[in-house]
Amino acid sequence: MAAAESSDSEEEDLVSYGCPLQPLQEGERIKKPVPLQEQTVKDAKGRYQRFHGAFTGGFSAGYFNTVGTKEGWTPSAFVSSRQKRADRAIFGPEDFMDEEDLSEFGIAPKDITTTDDFASKAKDRIKEKARQIAGVVAPIPGTTAFDDLIGPSKITIGVELLRKMGWKEGQGIGPRVKRKPCRQKPDPTVKIYGCALPPGLSEGSEDEEDEYQPENVTFAPKDVMPVDLTPKENVHGLGYKGLDPSQALFGVSGREHLNLFTGGSEETSNLLGDLRHNKGRKLGITGQAFGVGALEEEDDDIYATDTLSKYDTVLKDEEPGDGLYGWTAPKQYKSKKRPEREFKYIGKVLAGFSLASKPSAPIKIYPPPSLPRNYRPVHYFRPVVIDGNENCHLQKALEESTGKLESDPAHQSRHALTAAQRREQLGEAELKGPAPSILEYLSEKDRERLKEVKQASEQQMKAKIVSQQPPSSRFQSVSPEDVTLKWQRQLEGQLANAGSSDFKPFAKNPDKQKRYENFVKSLKKGEKGEALERFLDPNMTEWERGREREEFFRAAIFYRSSNSTLASRFTRAKYEDDVDKVEVPRDQENDIDDKETAVKMKMFGKLTRDKFEWHPDKLLCKRFNVRDPYPDSSIVGLPKVKRDKYSVFNFLTVTEPTTSVTQATNEKIQESSSLNKPKKSSRWDVSDKEKEKKDSISEFISLARSKADVQQQPPVPATEKCGTGTTETLPTVQVADEDKNQEEESGRPPMDLFKAIFVSSSDEKSSSSEEESDEEQQPTTSERASETPKQVEVPDSSSSNIQESVTSTTDSGISSLPTSKQEVDTTEEFGPKLPPAFSSGTTWQQQTVVPATSPGPSRKEKHRKIRERHKAKKERKRKKEKKRKHKKQKNKGKHKNKKSEKDSSSDTTDSSDSLSDMDTTGLSPKELLRRLKQLQY
């Protein structure tokens, strides 16, 4: 009860929406929804209506269950055609229309309209048009035209009234005017070409009218032609008219020229006469589309246009189109002046167009050239040069050498001329430019071959000269003088720069080249014979000299011609070939110097800021829930441009401060880098060797750093003292030794290899300490292994014990010591390093005790050593490294690709080293000593 009450009160608090459902009566079941098939519809009289039946309106007609209701669509009752076949209803379009369609704004409004009798004439025009169209479309074209002709003329009441008032059709309405308003007249100066008006028509009436102006005659105002506002509904071109039915019927009709002057006034041609005239003709379809049949008498009218609108369909009271309105005056004053206006275009001008004021220039037609008498329409090819090994220049040179050149140049065919000769004939200026010889572009081999060819052909030619010297030739003998004379003659025009250009045909033989140059020089001066002879090698035989002379001459021509022709075609490249292009960001962060000064002045802001357009990847935007800022760009990242490829360094603008660490370390770095002759380009493409190098350097740097740190820290335990002591005793011999070792280091695989082999890395701390010991032991073992390089390294606990013992000697206060050897292992990185794992200054001291017995320190180590000496380093660290190197040597050639990871491995191992230090502090000094001794081996 209580619960019920509470619920009641709750109900009062609630806000109710909508109307509540009928409360259920007692024992009443909840109504089930009526299934679709049981739903019924009653008509207005309460009768059940079936719907969706096939006979009551088809399936699914209308909105769901509304068919046959007041709201819905009413199907027409089915009427069996069996009995009532006769009175089948004839449906008009209205039967299928809705009520709205028949209303005022529907598609078929049923409103009151004026009947034809009362309709204005304007309406008539529309009708006329409609009739016209009907005439065209009708099955028998032209029939409607007859109907119109024969049908009684209906005159509206308004027209009748007007007529009674004296109005005539065609006139305007209003008071009569004294003179005709100025009519449209064409400019007499304008020549218009076109068809002449047929004489005899009353076209010229206007002209005459102008001349005759009776004073006491008044005119009715001109009828105003209503503007035709009928829309263009078809897809025909502007002004298109279909096939004219009348023309199709009669083939010919009075040629009707649309006239600008008469405007819309009707033509006064005699239609009936025309008809009569053509009576004998066969009725048929003629016209543009069908051409002219063979039986047609004349074919001149097919292009004429004719419409019924041009004919007067009213028999009485017609108004002449001449504007005289029935006035027929004697015509004797007609002057038959027919000026050039005759040649006018009389056709209709389309709206938006105007007649041309100037005639277009007539198209000139040139007759085809008359063929020469002996022309044969067969192309024949000129015979190919038979010895295919010569080029044309060579060929030419050979021809010239045979003395054919002696013939009059005028008789030479123009194909035989060289470019230079042609240039001379044309009087053109010589092309300027550096004259690189083509030989420069040729390879050494090609040049050689060319020479051979040349010489071979030379020989041939000589033979030819001897055998078939033309009798007309002036040079019967081949004396040197004659030869030179001949050559000179030929060279006359071309010698101007024969030897001056920078091509050297005999570059391979400097002596010969020199001789050649002198030869050409003297040749230019005009010396001949003996004078030229002296430039030739006196040590040669006569024959050889003759040959060389020939050669020189030929070279002078040959190289010259090719020289000039080529020079005109090529220019020297102004820039280096930029085949190697690289995509570079369009915007570069630049002028670091400015920025640095800005930073120094603490002028942050605009000076230090660079803003670039940057395109994030679409997916990245999606993942960041950010709208893509550049939705339609395909660029990702910074916009790139193609630039010349530079070296990697140009892109790696390593800023100065990058390497700036502390002052001291910086200096050290510089020292070290200067010692490292082949400077590493970037840290990513360094070779393995360099990496090793880097390693050692960085180790030393960090060693130095740690050293500095140690010195900075006041609570330095005794270990430091020990360290410094040992470094001072560093033997210099080691430097050299390490040099020897250098080659061996290169193949050293990374530390992890050993770990992978010997240690299960999954262990936790204990294992890691093992690793560390392993790490430590490796150097020691390797030291031993240096004597027996092939010996497989086995992790032995003893060595690790040694390490442990070593560490135990030192103070185990890890935390009390500052930065440490951990640092030592951090590889050189550009920028900040990882902090040392543990500040234990112990590890590197372990090795101070160990004398340097290793065979050879590397060259790289040498720098290190030197610096070490400088800085009074502890030698322990070095020792350790040395040991490592031994190991490297052992494992040379393995796992090169793993090398890149080496630095990190060393990091870890060293950090774990220190761990081991922590762990192994409980050894007795004696034990330690013993192991140390072991180490020495």
Partner: protein
Amino acid sequence: MAFPSPRPARAELPRQRVQTLQCGQGAVRAARFNADGNYCLTCGSDKTLKLWNPHKGTALRTYQGHGYEVLDAAGSFDNSQICSGGADKAVALWDVTTGQVVRRYRGHAGKVNCVQFNQESTVIVSGSIDSSVRCWDCRSRRPDPVQVLDEAKDGISSLKLSAHEILTGSVDGRLRRYDLRAGQLCSDFIGSPITSVCFSKDGQCLLASSLDSTLRLLDKDTGELLGEYTGHRSTTYRLDCVLNQLDTHVGCASEDGHVYFWDLLEGSLALRLSVGQGVVQSLDFHPRLSCLLVATQGQVTLWREDTFQGDPDT
């Protein structure tokens, strides 16, 4: 009522050491709170990643699978996943509960210095010493990064994300902010190699620490210098800088074993917290509380404000 509303409590800096976690994973390269600050991750140099409850001092889980030391880690917003980057050049996505590597993204050419999740933990952004920042898609199985941001001329030392920005600090001395929404890259020149960057909580300022032992607070929009904080020593190592939970103080680790706090506005040194002898390797500030996580050498310490009374449970 008539009482004026109490002034907001002055931000108390963490001065009291409340927990020390002996991580036992070598050097702790990074210690990071998770998204809500209840847990923390420590990245060890022994290739492991550990999940802790730093407030109780309990180790929850160890994640093994990195090839070399782990350099940075971050937790997803729903604590279901962890991403980490290491010296093995790989970025790993871990499942927190199973402890397995869900995905491993390879593509960096060098050590991965820093990793971050985006807000919805759908993208991992990693910065490496190969001077590239790579955005990895966690949703798809595609092995290559969604986008590589290789504008930096030197290694990326630090990286932070906001809702629509990627902020990177590079050793080339530039702070680069990639604004995805605006489609812009803003590069601010600092000069000195940047070791750490962070956004202020209001997202208006950028804090950058660099190897010239200076922290700089820059206006995000204009790049103007708002403050400079010096006094600590940071010349060699990659050390973190932080802003406290209220943006009132700026903190930075130092190589001298201290953590320094400056007043953000005045720039005066507010606190010099002695943490240990060695270099303070990593710092992280609790997102809501005055609670600082400091990693030095092999241990991680948790610091709270003075007024903090330890949980009776712990």
